[in-house]
């Protein structure tokens, strides 16, 4: 094996500047795992992202009482364990080695060195990992909806939430929440500037299934649940408390969502319309780069939530009724580069 990874074999790194790849390569170390071994196990702490240069892997999700579901068979060019790059958490699947495997591993602590410095290459990689996670999240949501026999029909847009004024001390509060905790006070203020604050009463719809989320909504206070609701059961996909967002899938384009988002408690939301989100995702300033990392980490948190083994719930009487909503406004369709 060469002394540095051949990044051209991995689509994840396509287009990153050579000097940034050079820095990333220096942080990687080689790995080799014999056939029959376990590369990592579901539930273990994420120790890094693996770039598979040779061999064959199988990703499986262990179920109760010794059962297991095969998720994918992976060959050279595959990247596994990438979620560990974006925040703490445990492995969501077990990866078994079917044929002798070798490649490179990027330690999340090493990646953090670049990330904390908001280096362009690490920010770009964080954005791509976030997009990958968003695609996985969309697939996960759609699989759950299909399993429940739920087909979203365009109904309307929950855009009538009343606007509220910025509360005293709100910026200081935001700075303590998950999404903003690692940002400077200036970056928090820049991100929140000009964004509308919306109030959602308990039970109010924030996002409607069948419609592309019109904006990214960050919870300031309270909680919003994202769920797929069938006639008799409901599957929770996320409970977003302060410093977490809903509507991430809107970043992928115009595809309509299969899930609804509803305020579980009285909730205050920060609304970031997609043009603003894209501006941030493509921006070069400190606030923009910090947002890319925070957004990607939140996508990963949402994905991890959706992939947890959580029981489906029998629907409560009256909980499924949706109130009439006004028609959807025009929304931006440009995707981030």
């Amino acid at each position: 094996m060469s002394a540095r990874p051949d990044f051209s074999a991995f689509a994840l790194f396509a287009g990153l500047p050579p000097d940034e790849l050079e820095d990333l390569g220096r942080l990687m170390r080689p790995f080799a795992a014999p056939a029959g071994s376990v590369l990592f196990a579901e539930g273990a702490a994420g120790d890094g992202m693996y770039l598979l240069q040779a061999g064959t892997l199988e990703a499986v999700r262990p179920g109760p009482h010794g059962t297991a579901e095969s998720l994918a068979t992976l060959g050279p060019g595959a990247v596994v364990g990438e979620l560990s790059m974006l925040g703490p958490g445990t492995r969501t699947a077990t990866v078994n080695v079917l044929e002798d495997a070798s490649g490179w591993i990027l330690d999340p602590r090493a990646f953090d060195l670049l990330r904390l410095d908001l280096r362009p290459g690490s920010v770009a990689l964080a954005r791509r990992l976030g997009e990958l996670a968003a695609e996985r999240m969309r697939d996960r949501y759609e699989a759950i909806a299909a399993r429940m026999g739920v087909v979203p029909t365009p109904g309307g847009y929950a855009g009538a939430l009343p606007e509220v004024a910025e509360a005293p001390g709100e910026l200081a509060h935001l700075a303590t929440t998950l999404m903003f905790a690692r940002m400077s006070a200036e970056a928090v203020a820049e991100l929140a500037a000009g964004a509308r604050r919306l109030h959602a009463a308990r039970g109010a719809l924030v996002l409607t299934p069948g419609v592309r989320p019109p904006a990214l909504y960050v919870v300031v206070h309270g909680a919003v649940e994202v769920s797929v609701r069938g006639p008799a059961t409901v599957q929770r996909l996320r409970l977003a408390g302060p410093g977490r967002a809903v509507g991430h899938l809107g970043v992928l384009g115009t595809e309509p969502a299969v899930a609804e988002a509803r305020a579980r408690e009285r909730t205050v939301l920060l609304e970031l319309p997609w043009p603003r989100v894209y501006e941030l995702l493509e921006g070069a300033g400190e606030a923009a780069r910090a947002f890319v990392v925070a957004f990607s980490e939140d996508v990963v948190r949402a994905l991890r939530y959706a992939e947890r083994p959580v029981a489906a719930l029998r629907t409560a009487p009256g909980a499924a009724g949706l109130s009439p909503q006004p028609p959807a406004p025009a929304v931006a369709t440009r995707r981030p580069s």
């Binding site: 109760p64 309270g222 909680a223 409901v234 947890r308 083994p309 029981a311 719930l313 029998r314 409560a316």
Partner: protein, 292 residues
């Protein structure tokens, strides 16, 4: 915050969940995996044995001491099998106003009552709202409250929603009673303007069936200070998990999985009510959406 474990089904030797398991309840009492800190305020256990002479009467063991050093509990756990049980480690905050003593230990079960209750939670501002609950309690129940915890009042409130607070109750009646009690708590909180996050994970059982909640009032609204409630924001929604035995012969509930490998465990969704009932072939869990 507290830790709780409960079981319903085939006879279970108590040593495994209390001491032997990798993340046993006693291990959690000194090193919980899913919360920041647990200041131990005592331990309590109710264990029903369907084969005993009076199966509706549980063994009871409560101590304000630290369970990890409790040889009596260890000896008991190595001997006793239970077909239903609730065990609870009480967590308390560092505050001179906190009362640590035998009268504040869960699970609560008034003398003569069939239904027992333990809580993993805390009602913010409870001192302000406590006496407004009196009007919702059945006559005679308030007199039986001996301690200072919110849980004992919640217990009296749940009993008050039953047709007969001291009689047998089937699992659906217990579930309705729990929902009714939470409804009352929400109304009383609103009357007092209490709008701070308050987890209310309950485990309720009469030894033949069980109901549990994973629930919180005003989740996501934290006090702007360094109090206990603010400190818990890092740990989010108070957890509850359950595990069904491979053959469906029993169900275990716990604040956190008892094994490091969590593949056999299912996380109860937030805002849910677990209804656990016996049937001919064993025990079944039904998860219901809890919308109040």
């Amino acid at each position: 915050m507290c830790r709780v474990w409960a079981h319903l089904g085939d006879p279970q030797l108590l040593d495994e969940p209390l001491f032997a398991a990798e993340n046993s309840l006693v291990a959690q009492s000194v090193s919980p995996a899913l919360m920041s800190l647990l200041n131990i305020g005592g331990f309590g256990l109710l264990a029903w044995d369907a084969a005993s002479a009076a199966p509706e009467e549980p063994y009871a063991y409560r101590t304000p001491g630290v369970p990890v050093f409790d040889r009596n509990l260890k000896a008991l756990a190595r001997k006793v099998h239970a077909t239903a049980a609730i065990a609870h480690v009480r967590g308390v905050v560092y505050d001179p106003a906190e009362r640590v003593g035998p009268q504040n230990l869960h699970p609560f079960r008034f003398a003569g009552a069939r239904v027992a209750l333990a809580q993993n939670g805390d009602l913010h501002g409870f001192a302000a709202m406590r006496f407004d609950l009196l009007e919702h309690l059945r006559p005679g129940l308030a007199d039986r409250i001996e301690g200072t915890t919110d849980t004992e009042w919640v217990y009296a409130l749940v009993l008050s929603q039953l047709d007969d607070p001291f009689g047998p109750a089937d699992v659906d009646e217990m579930a309705t009673a729990v929902e009714g009690a939470l409804d009352i708590l929400r109304d009383v909180r609103a009357r007092h303007g209490i709008e701070t996050q308050s987890p209310v994970n309950l485990v309720v059982s009469d030894g033949t069936s069980m109901v549990a909640t994973r629930f919180a009032f005003d989740y996501g609204w934290y006090p702007d200070d360094d109090s206990f409630f603010a400190g818990e924001r890092e740990f989010d929604f108070t957890t509850l998990w359950y595990r069904e035995a491979p053959g469906g012969e029993s169900v275990t509930i716990a604040s956190e999985p008892l094994s490091l490998d969590r593949a056999d465990w299912v996380e109860a969704p937030e805002y849910s009510l677990l209804v656990i009932r016996r049937h001919e072939g064993g025990v079944a869990v039904e998860s219901r959406e809890l919308v109040l």
